[in-house]
């Protein structure tokens, strides 16, 4: 062996190796993506190289291959899963292919350190087999030269091709230069394909108006499109390979910072679920807020979570319009309330004789006017509630609550209405665990659904309420035998102002807000509401279902949602640290 190598020309074929390395380096510098994104390229590299290394072993001493493989695997700082090892060992000739694949799934740091070990050991093996210190020294020198720029993929090429190339010089026909060139061509064409695909994808992603950012599972930015960078006011250099959560911050609508663990990208990485959020803003580089709707989606490579992609859109205008609309409803409602309230009192006073005696038939007219007045006030109140829901200003005060008791209280409330229509209310409830929920709002929800069921029941019908529990939720079913919901109108049942045609003819005075409110509340708790209709053969009957988690969601942005009153509380800054004494009479 020694003598063979002595005949080797001083510089055997460094150009070939260099060319290959250069190709690899170019590929890497162009791609600007992590190992994960490069895995197709790595696969091609290692496929070609593995055949070379296998042949090297065949040529040297086939019986040693298995032993070397074992030693190599044992030396790796990275623990190789048994199934990967057995896959390597059971091939007709031991192959390193599965090993490369494992390594490409590691973090770049881990992969690199593993490759360094691999390389060192490879040199040892060469030395052992070839007893050729010059070769080893040369390889070592080249290795040290390239070490600073070494990336895992490059190292594969380096450590495999270079010795293979040298050996080839000696053995001529066994592994010709042609064969290496073929590998090189394959690499080039693969590189071109990867680059073409990359250019196409980037052009595509840059041309869209939505911001797109991809982060690795180490939370580092591996891609950002032009829209994303423009919206955030950052350059590619600001973002690339930086930790996303360190570079870009989120704030709530009130400008409070959002903790990392509450951020959609983080939650998506953690839960491997798609997370959409509509009420947060980016804090731009110039410290202004960019209201955005954003969706984080995890992605998976080699069956392992590899990162997440965030797609976001500037919703400044939408939020403005939405805010103005809500503000308008809110102001208009308050303006309406003043005359309505004044009208109410005057009518009441008129009816009670504060302005003198009235003719008998005037009483009925006053009563009618009052009932219209009160209905309008209720409508205005509902409008106000809706505008609060839309602004996310509904206060939520969870307390330990027995759902069964809330149902009982609601039934008591609805009872007069039911009696008037001779509707039977029946309740079957399982023994109920205590849940933590805003009892007042739960009652509002139940009242809406149960009174609907009564309202749209025929005289003498019945409404059945059923409460069931499973491991993590409570389900309340409210079933009536009423008119049912026409199929063509079912899709809009939970929208604002919805009233089914057949309902309007029977009960003309509803506001069409009830179920919208129900849905808003229940979904804020992380629950679900749905219905089936008809439930009876003759197109009658409706069942509404409420499913409430036993541990209701803490609404995102609790500080902002909790206390609508708190906003005006800022005016008495002093009395918050030194609260005003409670002067209310203890007896009231």
């Amino acid at each position: 062996m020694w003598s063979i190598f002595r005949r080797t020309p001083a510089k055997p074929s460094p150009t070939l190796a260099e060319e290959l390395l250069q190709t690899g380096a170019q590929t890497l510098s162009h791609s600007r993506v992590s190992t994960v994104m490069l895995s197709p390229l790595v696969n091609v590299l290692s496929r070609g190289l593995d055949s070379l290394i296998t042949k090297t072993y065949t040529f040297l001493d086939p019986s040693r291959a298995r032993e070397d493989l074992d030693t190599l695997v044992q030396r790796l700082p990275y623990q190789i899963a048994p199934e990967v090892y057995s896959q390597m060992a059971t091939e007709p000739t031991p192959t390193f292919q599965p090993l490369y694949e494992v390594l490409t799934t590691l973090s770049p740091e881990d992969a690199t350190s593993n490759f360094h070990y691999l390389y060192q050991h490879y040199l040892d093996l060469l030395n052992h087999h070839l007893e050729k210190p010059e070769l080893q020294a040369m390889l070592q020198k080249q290795y040290l030269e390239f070490k600073p720029t070494i990336k895992p993929e490059l190292l594969i090429a380096f450590l495999d091709i270079v010795p293979a190339g040298y050996l080839d010089q000696e053995r001529g026909s066994l592994m010709g230069r042609d064969e290496l060139l073929k590998v090189l061509d394959e690499l080039r064409s693969e590189k071109d394909k990867v680059e073409a695909a990359k250019i196409r994808d980037e052009a595509l992603l840059d041309s869209i108006g939505d911001g797109v950012v991809a982060v690795s599972s180490e939370q580092k930015v591996i891609f950002s499109n032009q829209s994303a960078r423009e919206m955030l006011g950052l350059t590619e250099a600001d973002l690339f390979e930086k930790k996303w959560f360190d570079i870009v911050h989120l704030v709530t609508e009130k400008g409070e910072p959002v903790a990392t663990e509450n951020r959609p990208m983080y939650q998506s990485l953690q839960t491997q679920k798609k997370i959409s959020v509509n009420n947060l803003s980016f804090l731009k580089a110039d410290n202004t807020a960019l209201p955005a709707s954003m969706t984080a989606t995890p992605f998976i490579l080699h069956d392992k979570p590899a990162g997440a992609i965030l797609v976001f859109r500037d919703v400044t205008r939408e939020r403005e319009i939405d805010h103005q609309k809500t503000e308008f409803i809110s102001v208009a409602s308050h303006q309406l309330r003043t005359p309505l309230g004044s009208m109410k009192w005057n009518l009441e006073m008129l009816g009670k004789g504060y302005y003198g005696a009235l003719p008998d038939d005037a009483q009925k007219i006053i009563a009618d006017a009052l009932s219209v007045n009160e209905r309008t006030i209720r409508l205005v109140n509902t409008l106000l509630n809706i505008s609060r829901i839309e602004e996310g200003r509904v206060p939520d005060h969870p307390v330990e609550t027995d759902i069964k008791e809330v149902i009982a209280a609601t039934l008591k409330e609805v009872e007069p209405l039911a009696q008037a229509k001779k509707v039977k209310l029946e309740c079957k409830a399982e023994k109920s665990p205590v849940i933590c929920i805003d009892a007042g709002r739960l009652r509002e929800v139940l009242e809406n659904i149960i009174s609907n069921a009564v309202k749209y029941s025929a005289q003498g019908g019945s409404v059945d309420i059923d409460l069931k529990f499973d491991a993590d939720s409570a389900t309340i079913q409210v079933a009536d035998q009423g008119m049912g919901i026409p199929e063509k109108e079912q899709f809009k049942v939970f929208s604002r102002f919805f009233r089914a045609e057949n309902a309007i003819s029977q009960e003309p005075n509803g506001s069409g807000f009830g179920l919208f409110v129900v849905k808003s509340y229940v979904e804020a708790w992380g629950g679900k509401v749905w219905f089936t209709s008809p439930t009876l053969p003759d197109n009658r009957g409706t069942s509404f279902y409420l499913q409430i988690p036993l541990v209701p969601l803490k609404i995102l942005n609790p500080a902002g949602l909790d206390q609508p009153e708190a906003e005006s509380g800022t005016r008495i800054g002093d009395s918050r640290s030194n609260p005003a004494p409670d002067l209310r009479p203890k007896t009231s």
Partner: protein, 159 residues
């Protein structure tokens, strides 16, 4: 308790003239003596002069100060702090704040019938508020004649 021989005084702070007329009719018919103010400044002045038995206070007022400012001034005044103040307004989001400053109750006009209003007024009149002495720290040592507090800055109201 309520001395039936005495005519009770009600101070109404409300910027709506029509409503003031209705109040007037309502409460005079019920045998109360009525004082009416359209601005907070006017209301505070009447309160000092007349020492009413109860004050009905709107949040939105004419003039430079709103109902919360008035309420704070009343609660800081040794002579006036124990007059029960019943908030009567159409804003329904300020209940907590009003109660924390010391209102006895908070009624949304459009959601309150006159029967309830009359009943509340009757109940709150004459209820003695004696807890002032328990917390004089905020007024310093000049217990007898409190120094006038600067008016707190007016803040925008939340609807």
């Amino acid at each position: 308790m309520i001395d039936t021989a005495q005519i009770h005084k009600i101070l109404l702070m409300e910027d709506d003239e029509q409503l003031q007329q209705s109040y007037h009719r309502l409460f005079t018919t019920e045998g109360y003596q009525i004082f009416q103010a359209f601005t907070g400044e006017q209301g505070l002045q009447i309160a000092k002069q007349e020492k009413p038995d109860i004050i009905l206070l709107d949040i939105m007022l004419k003039g430079g100060i709103n109902g919360f400012d008035v309420l704070e001034q009343l609660k800081k005044d040794r002579d006036l702090f124990n007059i029960p103040v019943l908030m009567l307004t159409n804003l329904d989001s300020e209940r907590k704040l009003a109660l924390s400053i010391g209102a006895v109750d908070y009624l949304v006009k459009a959601n309150t019938s006159i029967d309830i209003l009359l009943e509340k007024v009757k109940n709150y009149i004459g209820q003695s508020l004696t807890t002032f002495a328990e917390d004089t720290s905020q007024f310093g040592e000049t217990a007898a004649t409190p120094t006038p507090q600067p008016l707190p800055e007016k803040s925008p109201l939340t609807l």
